[in-house]
Subunit: 214 residues, 4 copies
C-alpha cells in the first residue's frame, strides 16, 4: 500500500522509480551500439578505433541528452504532488520516446559517413529528440493546467514563465531536425551544442524558483 | 530490515521495486529488437527504414502493453498491503511472462510479412499476451480471496466488481490469439487497438474506486 | 544522507535497491538468449520453434532460480539491520555469481543437444548455480555470526536451524553438478525440479519464523 | 513531490536511485561480452571455454571495479545531504564513464591475445578506469568544497584527509594506464590487484570516520 498513505512514500514515488528505471536502462543500453572493431594483420587497432568516431559522438550526445532529460524530469516532481490514471499513461508514452533513442543513435552512428544516407539518419534522430521534448512538455502541461497535480499555493505568474521556458525544447530540436535537410553535420553539431549548453551550471531551469516558492 | 518495521517503507515495498525493475528493463530491452538496416549503393536508407515497419508496430504495441500492465500493477498495490512467501513466488511467475515478451515481439517483427510463418508468430505473440493477463488475474485473485492481503474494511461488493472487470483481459487476449488462426493481421490489429484503448483516460480501472473506499 | 539517519530509509536500504536492480536486470537479460529462428521456404516456423526447446527450458529454470534467490535475499533483509564495508563487498561478489548466470544459460541452451559438449555445458551451469548458493550462505553467515548484523534479541536456537537449512542449497546444487558427470539430462532435470519445488507454498524458509520472533 | 519535503525521502534520494540503476545495469550488461563458443566436430567445448579466459578475467575485473565504485558512491551519500543542478549534471557525466565500461571491457577481452593490438586495448581500458576515478573525485570535491553539500558540523581536518585519500584512485589508475606502454599484461595485472585489494575488509574508506563524526 506504498502509494496511498504510508508515511514517507508519496503518491508519485512509484512513477518516479519506474521512470528512473527506464531512463537509467535506456542511457546504459546506449553502450551496446559501440562496436568492437576487428583488425586484420595489416591494420592497426588504433586507427580502427579512430575511424569509429561517429559512434562515440552519437553515444555522448544521446547519453548527455537522456541525462539532462532525467535531471529535468526530477525537477518536475519537486512540484508535482499527485498522479492520475491519465497522467501515468502520458508518462508511459513519454518514456517510450526516451526508450527508443538507442535505435536512432545506432542508426546515425552507422550512417554518418555515408553521403547518401546521412540526411535520412539525421532526420530520424532529430525527430526522436523532438518527440522527447514534445512529450516532456505534454507531461508538464497536463500536470500544470489549472494546477491539476500541483500544490494550490504555486505562484501562477512564475508558473507561466516556467511553462514558456520549456517550450524552447521542442522548438530548438525541431529547428535542428529541419537543419538536417540543408546539412546533416550542422544539425548534429547543434544537438551536441545543446547537450553541452544544458550541462552548464547557469542553465538550471526556472522551475527551481517555483520550488522555493511553492 | 526495511521490510518489517521501518516507518515509511511498507511490507510490499521491495516487491514493488523488484517488479518495477523487471518491467522497466523488459520495456526498455524491446528497442534491441529494432534493427539498423544496411544499405548498398543502389538502395536508399529511407525506403529500407519504411520496409521495417512491422518492427516499429510490434515495438509500439509491446511497449504500450507493458506500460499499461505496469500502471495496473501499480494500482493493485494501492490496496494490497501485505505479502506472503507464496504471493512473492506468484509475482515471480507473473514477471516471467512479462520479461519474455521481447522475444515474441522480435518473432512477430521478423515474420510478419512472411505468408507461411505469420500465423505461427501471431499465435506465439498472442499466447504470451494471454499468459500475462492470466497471471495478472492470478496475482490479484490470490491477494483478494478472503481479503487475504487486503485491508479488512474493503467494500466486498465493489471488490467483486473489480475482480470481474479484470477478467476481460485474458478473455480478450485469448480471443485475439484465436483470431490469428483466421487472419494474423486482424489478430495483431486487435492487440494494437487494445493498447490504444487502455491508454485513453476513460478506461481507468474500477480499483480506483476501491482505493477511495478502502 | 539517505543511509544514515533519515526516518523511513534504513541503513540497508541502498544495498537492497542495488541488489534488486542487479537481480532484476540479470533475470530480464535472460530473454536475449532465446533466438528468433530463420525459416527457409521449405521449413515451417512451428517446427523451428519446437526444435529450440532447450532454450525455453534453460530460460525457465534460470529465471525461476534467480526469482527464488531474490525472494530469499528479500527474506534475509527482514532480519539484517545493519551493513559494514566488508558486508557490502561480500554482496558485490554474491551479485557477480547471479549476474553471470545469463552466460551459462546461453551455453547450455546452445549445447544441450550435442552429445560431445553436453556434459561440459551442464558442469559449467551447475558450478554457477553452486557458486550462487555458496555466496548466499557466505552473505548470511557473515551477517549472522555473533549476531553481527542482526538485532540482539534473535532466538539463537532458531537462528542455528535457519543457518543449517540454508546449507541444503550448496549441497544440492553441487550434487546436481556432479550428476552431470554421469548424465547431463538428469543433472538439468534436478535443477528444474529444485526450481519448481522451491516455488511451491510449503517450501517457505524457516527465517520467516525468526522474523516473527526477532 | 518526493524530493522536497516528504518525510523519509531525502533530497538526494532520487539521485541515489538513478545512480544505483545505472551502475546496476552497467555491471550486469558486462555479461553480454562473454561469448558462447561454437565447437566443430573435431574440437572440444572444454578447451574452447578455456581459450576464452581473457573474457572471464576482463569480466571479473570490470565487475569488481564497478562494485567497488558503487560501494564508495554509497559511502559518499552517507555525508552528502543536498543536491544542486550542477551537482546532478556532474553525476550524469560521472555515470557516463561507468556506463561506457562494458565497451573497453569487450575491447580488451577481444584483443588481449593479439600482440599488435594488446597495448592499444589496454590503454583504452586504463583511460576509462582513470576517467571513472577522476569523475569520482570531481563529484566528491564539488560536494566537499566549502562544505557545499555537507552538514555544517563536519570535522574539517578529517575531511581534508578523506579528500587526499580519494586522490590515490586517479593516480594509481593513470600509472596503470602508462604501464601499458611498457607491458600490457603488467598494466592489466595491476588493475586486477587493485580490484582485489579494495575488496578486502581493511581497505574501507576514511569517509566512514567522517560519518561517525558528522
Amino acid at each position: 500500500m506504498a502509494a496511498r498513505d504510508a508515511p514517507g512514500v508519496t503518491e508519485t514515488g512509484r512513477l518516479e522509480t519506474f521512470a528512473d528505471g527506464v531512463m537509467a536502462i535506456a542511457i546504459t543500453l546506449l553502450v551496446l551500439e559501440i562496436g568492437v572493431p576487428e583488425v586484420d594483420e595489416h591494420g592497426s587497432l588504433g586507427s580502427a578505433l579512430l575511424e569509429q568516431w561517429p559512434q562515440y559522438a552519437a553515444y555522448a550526445v544521446s547519453f548527455l541528452t537522456i541525462g539532462i532529460i532525467w535531471v529535468n524530469h526530477h525537477h518536475l516532481f519537486s512540484v508535482i504532488e499527485r498522479t492520475t490514471h491519465a497522467f501515468l499513461m502520458l508518462n508511459v508514452v513519454f518514456l517510450m520516446t526516451i526508450a527508443v533513442l538507442p535505435w536512432p543513435t545506432a542508426l546515425i552512428a552507422e550512417h554518418l559517413r555515408e553521403e547518401a544516407s546521412r540526411t535520412t539518419a539525421a532526420i530520424v534522430y532529430g525527430l526522436t529528440m523532438t518527440a522527447i521534448a514534445v512529450m516532456f512538455n505534454a507531461v508538464w502541461r497536463y500536470a500544470a493546467a489549472g494546477l491539476r497535480l500541483l500544490p494550490p499555493d504555486v505562484d501562477r505568474a512564475e508558473l507561466a514563465r516556467v511553462s514558456r521556458s520549456y517550450l524552447s525544447g521542442p522548438v530548438t530540436y525541431l529547428a535542428g531536425t529541419l537543419l538536417a535537410l540543408w546539412d546533416a553535420w550542422w544539425s548534429l553539431g547543434l544537438f551536441a551544442l545543446l547537450a553541452i549548453y544544458w550541462l552548464l551550471p547557469g542553465s538550471g531551469p526556472r522551475i527551481e524558483r517555483l520550488r522555493r516558492v511553492g
